[in-house]
């Protein structure tokens, strides 16, 4: 225990890393095709969308909040960006428009939560419905197919390791640095850890909550770009269930607490990799998608139980 006290980093992630390695060993033994360059890059490819959503979620979780609406935000920003591009708006402008819209949706969430002191759960649940409804109204329920070449070049790129993976990695790096190395990142975590202390240290807790939700919304829009590039289409039913559920589950699996304060991007990265590994591995050994859902749900429950046990140990030992 002495070592883990000296290096909180090791204490925090050791279990998750071991789990990830163990899963890879098990699946590699179970299927000869699992440990192939093709499959491993495929796992990373599939992780990129979840990763960006999760990274945004980490900011909200840090404040002790939650955002259930990121899947709907993903769909709405995708449709709007695609429509803009189809109607002749330059690709760069259309993408910026989409990202701005995502941030704005998050800002609305954050404003209602902070200004009226409402539970993030219910506000973002409502936004989930509003944004999805808007998406379906605007698109008429039909996908918008065929993205401009420039767009595809940036977000999809050559096969094997697609550009999406690099985009996700850059987003994660910047976000991880921001959470630890900027005043905003520290303010976010202090609001989740002890809001009163933060307030008395002169931190504007309302503005901080709004910033967190805005970042989550922007991240959802960024994920949407990768999603569109992967499908070469904007889908009104994108991000309906699994995406946003995994966005919340991954950070928790990676050791971030739902109660806030202890939130780090690296945990979300590990969580996303674990989820992708499980899905890909189960595919390889022939377990169907429906069973995969059961498996993933079980992993989430296991993660929160471990988190709760850790908290008890921490409190008992203090």
């Amino acid at each position: 225990m002495r070592i883990s006290k000296r290096f909180p980093f090791i204490d925090r992630y050791l279990g998750v890393v071991i789990t990830l390695i163990a899963l890879n060993v098990i699946f590699a033994l179970a299927s000869p095709y699992y440990w192939s360059a093709y499959n491993l890059t495929n796992i990373l490819d599939h992780s990129s969308i979840s990763l960006i959503l999760s990274v945004g979620m980490v900011f909200v979780l840090a404040t002790g909040g939650i955002d259930l609406s990121v899947g709907s935000t993903l769909a709405l920003t995708g449709i709007i960006t695609a429509l803009a591009m189809k109607s002749g708006v330059p690709t760069v402008v259309a993408v910026l428009l989409g990202l701005g819209l995502g941030a704005a949706i998050g800002l609305v969430n954050g404003w209602v939560i902070a200004r009226f002191n409402v539970q993030p759960f219910i506000v973002t649940l409502a936004m989930l419905s509003i944004a999805r409804g808007l998406t379906l109204v605007i698109s008429g329920g039909n996908p918008i197919i065929g993205m401009p070449e420039g767009f595809m070049r940036v977000f999809s790129g050559p096969r094997l390791l697609s550009n999406g993976v690099y985009v996700a990695a850059i987003v994660a790096l910047i976000a991880g640095g921001a959470l630890v190395g900027t005043p905003l990142g520290r303010a976010l975590r202090s609001v989740g850890g002890n809001a009163e202390a933060a307030y008395l240290c002169g931190i504007n807790t309302k503005r901080v909550r709004m910033a967190a939700h805005s970042i989550a919304g922007g991240a959802a829009a960024m994920a949407s770009m990768l999603f569109m590039a992967g499908m070469d289409a904007a889908e009104p039913i994108a991000g309906l269930t699994t995406e946003w559920m995994e966005a919340i589950a991954a950070p928790v699996i990676g050791g971030n607490t739902l109660s806030g304060g202890r939130s780090f991007v690296f945990g979300a990265v590990l969580g996303v990799l674990i989820l992708s590994t499980i899905k890909s591995g189960l595919n390889m050994v022939g377990v169907g998608q429906h069973f995969q859902q059961i498996a993933i749900g079980s992993v989430i429950i296991a993660a929160v139980i471990i988190d709760s046990l850790r908290n008890q140990r921490r409190q008992g030992g203090a």
């Binding site: 005043p183 850890g193 002890n194 202390a197 933060a198 240290c201 002169g202 921490r314 203090a318």
Partner: protein
């Protein structure tokens, strides 16, 4: 030239006069003790100084300038920093992150300047003698003493000139206390001012240059420390001479053992082990347990009813020979517990008062699956009458009632149930005098029915007024029991503050 001058400050909370034309001043480079018994107005005065509360009238000068201190942030900018008992650190964040919370030195406006932060942290931690603290450790993993040093260091970094420390030593060992004192002396030598609020008079005498003593919201003494000042002097100033009796009480006859607590030990909120504590509660009596704030009374009550982990010892009920280990045991064995925090733990605030009263007896007033409303209402009316509460209040949501009436609702609930033992933590906290004596009378009724009442309170007059027997909890352990009449106010204070040798236990 005083750095702080407060003239004729007055503050009321509702009908209660918390501060009555108080004068107070601080000089640069001194350590000042602020003394007074519980509720004398110390916290109110310091909350006003730190901008958390504004006075109704009076004038505050900071460095000779008249200032309106209406928020903590502004007070902080003037260099006034409160270090409350709960230190307001973010446990999940590292030491360094906590030190600079909200005031990080910046690089290129958006980044944290790591280099400067590191060197400033080290420098400041050395200043408070905390050079061994790991800057990258999570604050929650550190000892209370280290956390205290971090809270002080943070105030230094925030530019603090005046440090108000509220009971800073209550969770510290003797060695840690001595270290804290050397830090306080160092702050003084740098020309800063420390206000030291403490119940521990030896410590106050050791460290302070001057004292202010508050009693009932008035500043009753301001004296220089010197060899002629003794603990007894301080206590005399704190308690004054006028002892009122707000609690009419007819003594009740006491009978057999009802509940026996044997060698109970437990940890208080700061992690200090308290006990062993041994006593028994008899049928037909009100047993009062008193002691200074923070001495562990609330924790004792929680341990007895199984809400807090018991390190050793036992709680045994006479009639069933049963041990109480969990709150469910306590309930089944007929122990009714009313916590200090009646809003948080006792009442469903949105629910009607009447429904709150009958929550625990729903089974006995129900037929099949429905509640007999008529019977419920009759019961409510009966208790409202006994407690001198307006019947209209029964249909109001509990959250809308005053503190006194809320307490009546909680008590009614316990009385309606068939509890044989009632454990009350600070039953009259924040309640006006009229409601206090009604509640005292009700407890007397309850005891006379042959049940037992355990009252835990920090208010000495309440304990002296309502109890048949009294136990006094101090840092040294439990004193007594004393029979009603054997203990007067002065002697109780002397025991609480340790100015008198422990005497004739019986």
């Amino acid at each position: 030239m005083p750095v702080i001058e407060m003239n004729r400050l007055t503050k009321r909370f509702g009908g209660i006069l918390a501060l009555d034309s108080v004068d107070f001043s601080l000089e640069a480079g001194e350590i000042v003790g602020l003394l007074g018994e519980n509720g004398a107005g110390k916290s109110t005065l310091m909350r006003i100084l730190s901008g958390a509360e504004t006075p109704d009238s009076g004038e505050i000068r900071v460095n000779e300038q008249v200032e309106t201190l209406d928020n903590p942030d502004y007070a902080l900018r003037l260099g006034i920093g409160m270090i409350p008992q709960e230190l307001l650190l973010v446990n999940e964040m590292t030491v360094e992150e906590n030190l600079f919370l909200g005031r990080e030195p910046r690089l290129a406006t958006v980044l944290v300047d790591h280099g400067r932060m590191r060197s400033l942290s080290l420098e400041t931690l050395i200043q408070v003698g905390g050079e061994e603290i790991d800057l990258d450790a999570e604050v929650g993993t550190l000892s209370k003493a280290d956390q205290q040093l971090i809270a002080i260091a943070r105030r230094i970094i925030q530019g603090g000139r005046i440090f108000v420390m509220d009971e800073p030593t209550s969770a510290l060992t003797e060695k840690e206390t001595n270290h804290l004192f050397s830090v306080m002396r160092r702050l003084r030598s740098e020309g800063r001012t420390v206000v030291f609020i403490s119940h521990r008079l030896e410590e106050v005498l050791e460290i302070c240059d001057r004292f202010f003593v508050l009693r009932d919201g008035r500043m009753v003494a301001s004296l220089e420390n010197g060899s002629s000042v003794t603990k007894a002097d301080l206590v005399r100033h704190m308690i004054g001479s006028d002892v009122r009796d707000e609690y009419p009480h007819e003594g009740s006859t006491q009978g057999a053992d009802l509940m026996t607590v044997t060698d109970l030990t437990f940890a208080n909120n700061q992690g200090r082990v308290i006990g062993p504590i041994t006593f028994s509660l008899h049928t037909g009596e009100i047993l009062g347990i008193t002691g200074l704030v923070g001495v562990g009374k609330t924790e004792l009550a929680q341990t007895i009813v199984g809400l807090r982990h018991r390190r050793s010892g036992s709680v045994q009920l006479a009639d069933t020979a049963r041990h109480v280990r969990t709150p469910v045991d306590a309930n089944r064995s007929g122990i009714g517990y009313v916590s200090e925090d009646r809003r948080g733990e006792g009442l469903v605030l949105g629910l009607q008062s009447l429904r709150n009263m009958t929550l625990t007896i729903l089974r006995s007033i129900s037929r099949f699956l429905t509640i007999r409303r008529g019977q419920e209402r009759e019961l409510g009316d009966e208790y409202a009458k006994r407690l001198n509460m307006k019947p209209e209040y029964l249909t109001l949501a509990a959250g809308k009632l005053s503190g006194g009436n809320q307490q009546k609702v909680v008590l009614s609930r316990r009385l309606m149930g068939d509890s044989s033992i009632l454990i009350l933590d600070e039953p009259t906290k924040g309640i006006d005098v009229g409601a206090k004596s009604e509640i005292a009378r009700l407890l007397g009724d309850f005891a006379r029915e042959g049940r037992g009442v355990l009252v835990l309170s920090s208010e000495p007059r309440e304990i002296l007024g309502v109890s048949d027997r009294i136990l006094v909890l101090t840092d040294d352990g439990i004193h007594g029991p004393f029979q009603r009449g054997d203990l007067d106010y002065g002697r109780l204070m002397a025991i609480e503050f340790g100015t008198q040798e422990d005497s004739d236990d019986r």
